[in-house]
């Protein structure tokens, strides 16, 4: 009886111990089903692996090409966490290469074991099961500080854990892939929404801005034909000219703007802000001197920005020439261009002390094309419309704040970190 009892305790797990192990396995399955990354899986598995068999240590080994990587462990004293060994010199590698579990009751009489690696550890015996038997992706190791041969049931529990682990890892991979796909789709959707909005904007421009002058031209054409009076004919002809010029400018600007918005491949570079601003200010030198404007620059907080050089120059040109154009009569124009960084964004501000804008009334239309054509196209409307297009093509935002008669600030916000 005693002998038999001893046999049971060394080679076979009692039915009670087995059912406790099964319960632990079931709990582990539930825990693993909630895991969303490999780290969580490994933390669960290394603990459960040890609990299942009452081993003194457990390791979680990942296959990394021709190496075994000891990614996680839970043991009475340190094993090899963080180390890498060639598949061929390591027992976890053996289990992976041979696609089967292995039990070694006395590691020092087995030449598959690199004895030098084991000597500093407590390990006397071990069991190793591959994770996923068809083309293993890793292994789970159990270690004992005494000579111990795990029973078939223990091994079965351990192998079940390894199988569940394989499924969990695949689930996590799938889940991550789905998340990536979802993120990709969400981004695509946002881009499509942007494009739809831009399309609507262009539709709006064509419907409102181009139809009005066109309908005037149509009517003028009819009237020229119908009127018998030569003076009238000439007068009508005269009236056609500015409308045609306006339509021509509108058309050119619209084509430019559409090209800006369609050109997703436009090159961004890291721009030296000071250098480019000074270059652009030189182009406006005449206007600046003529109105006696003072231009202050401060790029000490941020002197680089990720932007297309051509677009950048155009943006600066438009904002500065706007500030000059809408100066307050009788006041010396003062324009301040400065940059700063905040919360991962680079900001560029152009501030003036000019007429200002009543944003409550005109805020919604500030960056839109103007409808009517009595004003010369170059004097109003187009500049900010184009500027907004340039900034948005760079993935940035532009807005204005203003206190009429005191100051107006145009702010450009560009993500500092993302390099696309």
């Amino acid at each position: 009886m005693n002998t038999e009892g001893a046999m049971v305790s060394t080679n076979k797990i009692s039915p009670n111990t087995y059912s406790v192990g099964m319960n632990k396995l079931v709990l582990a399955v539930q825990e693993l089903s909630l895991a969303r990354n490999l780290d969580t899986i490994m933390l669960i598995v290394r603990r459960v692996a040890r609990e299942l068999t009452g081993a003194d240590g457990a390791t979680f080994v990942l296959r990394d090409g021709e190496y075994c990587f000891y990614a996680e462990e839970d043991a009475i004293s340190p094993l090899w966490k963080g180390s890498k060994f060639p598949l061929k010199t390591c027992i976890s590698g053996w289990a992976m290469l041979n696609k089967q579990s292995v039990v070694i009751e006395d590691i020092y009489v087995d030449d598959r074991i690199p004895h030098d690696t084991y000597r500093p550890t407590f390990v006397k015996s071990l069991a190793m099961v591959p994770i996923r038997t068809i083309s293993p992706i890793g292994a789970i190791g159990n270690y004992w500080a005494r000579n111990h041969a795990p029973s078939n049931d223990e091994l079965l529990l351990l192998q079940s854990l390894a199988d569940i682990t394989a499924v969990s890892i695949e689930n996590v991979n799938m889940y991550n892939q789905l998340e990536d796909k979802l993120a990709e789709r969400t981004q695509m959707l946002a881009q499509l929404t942007d494009q739809k909005q831009q399309l609507e904007e262009f539709c709006q421009i064509i419907a409102h801005n181009m139809r009005a002058p066109l309908s005037n031209l149509l009517l003028l054409g009819d009237m020229i034909k119908e009127t018998p009076d030569m003076d009238d004919k000439l007068m009508f002809l005269d009236k056609q000219k500015p409308v045609i010029d306006y339509l021509n400018d509108m058309f050119d600007n619209l084509v430019d703007a559409i090209q800006v918005r369609m050109d997703f491949s436009v090159d961004k570079e890291e721009i030296d802000i000071e250098q480019n601003v000074l270059k652009t200010l030189a182009l406006l030198q005449g206007e600046i001197i003529e109105c006696g404007a003072v231009v202050n620059c401060d790029f000490s907080e941020a002197n680089t920005i990720l932007f297309s050089p051509t677009y950048f120059d155009s943006v600066i040109f438009n904002l500065v020439s706007n500030a000059i154009k809408f100066r307050l009569p009788g006041t010396q124009p003062e324009i301040t261009i400065k940059t700063y960084k905040k919360d991962g964004f680079t900001y560029l501000e152009v501030e003036d002390n000019g007429l200002g804008i009543d944003l409550d009334k005109n805020g919604g239309n500030l960056f839109k094309l103007r409808k009517t054509f009595h004003n010369h196209p170059n004097s109003k409307g187009f500049g900010l419309f184009i500027t907004k297009g340039h900034v948005e093509a760079m993935g940035g935002k532009i807005w204005a704040t203003s206190e009429p008669g005191i100051r107006t600030v145009f702010t450009i916000q560009i993500n500092s970190n993302v390099i696309q």
Binding site: Q204, A212, L214, S215, L218, L219, E226, K239, K371
Partner: protein, 133 residues
């Protein structure tokens, strides 16, 4: 057709449109007087003053939508408030260069708007409009 149109108001910020349309309307000889305004507010101020002088009130209003200061919608709202004091049913048309369905739909929400006309107003179109009254 109504007998005689004494007065028509043209509310539009496009000076060329106003010039041409006034001319077209005069050529039809269907209207005695045409008065032009550059935005909704000018026209509302005029109507407000004309309450006491009904002979100054127009029979027809041609109203643009997109105007500075007060646009066509703003005018229609103010006109709605003023209407009970005017004692006259002024026939109001929206005249727009766009055939934006959203604008057309919105115009139907105003009881005083008779129709939505797309620019330009040619001689024939204006005659048809008046004949239909």
């Amino acid at each position: 057709m109504i007998n005689k149109i004494n007065k028509l108001c043209l509310i539009d910020d496009d000076s060329l449109f106003k010039f041409l349309t006034e001319r077209v309307i005069q050529d039809t000889q269907l209207v005695d007087r045409v008065e032009v305004f550059s935005n909704g507010l000018e026209a509302i101020n005029f109507l407000n003053n004309a309450k006491k002088t009904p002979e100054e009130l127009p029979d027809i209003i041609l109203l643009d939508i997109d105007m500075p200061v007060m646009d066509g919608w703003g005018f229609l709202e103010e006109y709605g408030k003023l209407f009970p004091e005017l004692n006259r049913n002024i026939i109001t048309y929206i005249v727009s260069s766009s055939n934006d369905p959203a604008d057309i739909k919105r115009s139907k929400g105003f009881v005083h708007v008779k129709d939505f006309i797309i620019k330009p107003i040619t001689k024939q179109k204006f005659i048809d409009m008046v004949m239909a009254l």
